[in-house]
């Protein structure tokens, strides 16, 4: 983009600013993802040892992160410590659970693995979407450059509308691709797996408290449905012989059958 002329400078600046913001967001997301996965895995390991843990354990607070970043002298030591902790957690995950809490531990490990997979795929999808936004900015730059001089972009609104157009165009290219469909489906499947694993763990806790679970409710719903269908079958045979009009009248207005 021609930055020498005053005419295009504000657009070039705007695009550069957007790129900078995207890069920053991307870095922050990666950091969140890393910290989140680590604390979740640690929570799962605690639970595996029969200690209570918060399944939705939040990553360290920003304040704490800022503090630790400021302690630059400790950075390399901290990195080594983190690496060691990750390795140790991974080692623990590989050891088959035994003893009284074996089943429980396994359920929590599966939950932790499902969470890690989900987080990994979320990161991958976010990467793709960031690429789309960057490509949209490239396209915007090109479209601005190729625009006829009699149609100037003389306001933010025009630039914004053009950016939306470029964004949709770039996104459509990705969205229709097989690779993206696959990635999105993988993430969908992983989050459903995570939900399933979470439900297993929750149901285990509910059973301890003698509270009804979703699985039990499902059994009941299925049974009620089967009974209803059987009942309809039994009652519909003689009714089918009656004129249809009378049949419809049998359903009182506003009342459930």
């Amino acid at each position: 983009m021609d930055r020498d002329t005053d005419s295009g400078a504000w657009i070039a600046d705007w695009i550069a600013e957007q790129r900078r913001i995207l890069a920053e967001q991307s870095r922050a997301a990666e950091a969140r993802q890393r910290d989140g996965a680590r604390s979740f895995a640690a929570g799962a390991e605690n639970e595996g040892s029969s200690r209570p843990a918060d399944a939705s354990a939040a990553p360290e607070s920003d304040l704490f992160n800022v503090g630790s970043l400021l302690m630059s002298a400790w950075t390399s030591a901290r990195l080594w410590q983190t690496h060691f902790a990750d390795q140790f957690a991974d080692l623990l995950r590989r050891i088959p659970p035994v003893g009284l809490v074996r089943e429980h531990t396994e359920a929590w490990r599966e939950l932790a693995e499902a969470h890690a997979e989900c987080t990994r795929l979320e990161g991958k999808l976010r990467e793709e979407l960031t690429k789309v936004q960057l490509a949209a900015l490239d396209l915007l730059e090109k479209r601005v450059r190729e625009r006829p001089s009699e149609e100037p972009i003389d306001g933010f609104r025009k630039l914004y509308d053009l950016w939306v157009e470029c964004g949709e165009q770039t996104y459509a290219g990705l969205a229709h691709s097989e690779a993206y469909s696959k990635l999105q489906a993988e993430l969908g499947n992983a989050s459903m797996r995570l939900k399933n694993r979470l439900q297993t763990v929750l149901e285990h806790a509910l059973k301890h408290l003698d509270l009804p679970t979703r699985s039990e409710l499902n059994t009941l719903h299925r049974q009620v449905r089967e009974l209803r269908l059987q009942l309809e079958e039994l009652t519909s045979a003689p009714r089918a012989k009656r004129p249809a009009r009378k049949q419809a009248r049998k359903t009182p207005k506003g009342r459930k059958r």
Binding site: P152, F156, K195, N196, H221, A248, T251, G254, R257
Partner: protein
Amino acid sequence: MSSTIDHDRIARELREFSDRVARGIAALASVGDVTIGGTPKDEVFALDKLRVYRYRPLDLLPGVRRVRVPVLICYALVNRPYMMDLQPDRSLIRRLLERGVDVYLIDWGYPDGADRYLEVSDYVLRYLPRCVEAVCAASNAEKINLLGVCQGGTLSLCYAALEPRRIRNLITMVAPVDFHTPENLLTKWSKHIDLEQFAAATGNVPGEMLNALFLALMPFRLMSQKYVDLMDHIEDLSALENFLRMEKWIFDSPDQPGEMFRQFMQWFVKENRLALGKLEIDGRPVDLRRITMPVLNVFASQDHLVPPSASRPLARLVGTRDYTEYEFRTGHIGIYVSGSAQREVPERIARWLRERDAPSRRRKR
């Protein structure tokens, strides 16, 4: 680069926009709840969570002759049917009533956990036949006209193919038939989804989840530009209310019964069984060639949810000799609510029905 810069102008633009946002917040705070629909109607049938309503007749437009055979609207399960009667000046139902059409509508309600095992067969072979019977009884008609909208159109096609004797004329509106056309993004996205696991994990599929999916089809426009555009007419109370009504409709999405969703996605979307002639419901083959009644297929040329290529194949699949196609230049939602659609679509439907109307044979008592 040829853009001319006017720093004062840009500063003014930003200032004006911030002022508009501030005024917009005040306008939004004062607008209150918006009312939806309002065309008077009476419940004529109820079964489980579904209701069938009959809309009360309105004064006819001058010179209009009544259509004797009633119309039953079968809407999709994904959204609420009040899109057909959003507000007095954006109501396909009202426009049909003014043109002498006797309108009934199925409201599927909001399924809950107890409905998670409902299947496609429940909708096509249990619910729809009873709704049709109820309309026949209420209107004293032997046959009715069925108007299926979107997914409701697909279900109506299945019903009409399996039970054609009760349908005089069939209208499909933005209804997908062939799910495997290149423009169909939702089909591409669902290709690798593990539906068994999906249904097991979610039970009923949350409406919010589907909404997120629909927004992801055009994220820049639907999640950003739409709201920026709103600022252009934020102080126009009527336009603001229109916008809020539309927002309510878009996000008022019932959950989908889990098993019904799984079967629909697997059979119709992933395997395209309806278009390929391989669909069976409760062991009964759904052969679209059995649809020999007149068919009007209405679709929108700019539809990003149900592209025209998904609706058009109906022409070669149905057995009728009286097939009419009506393509209207708008999008999936615009076909119900846009100004031009309000003027043209109901008129076209009513005229098509009137041309195929017949004395309603009284049913034997």
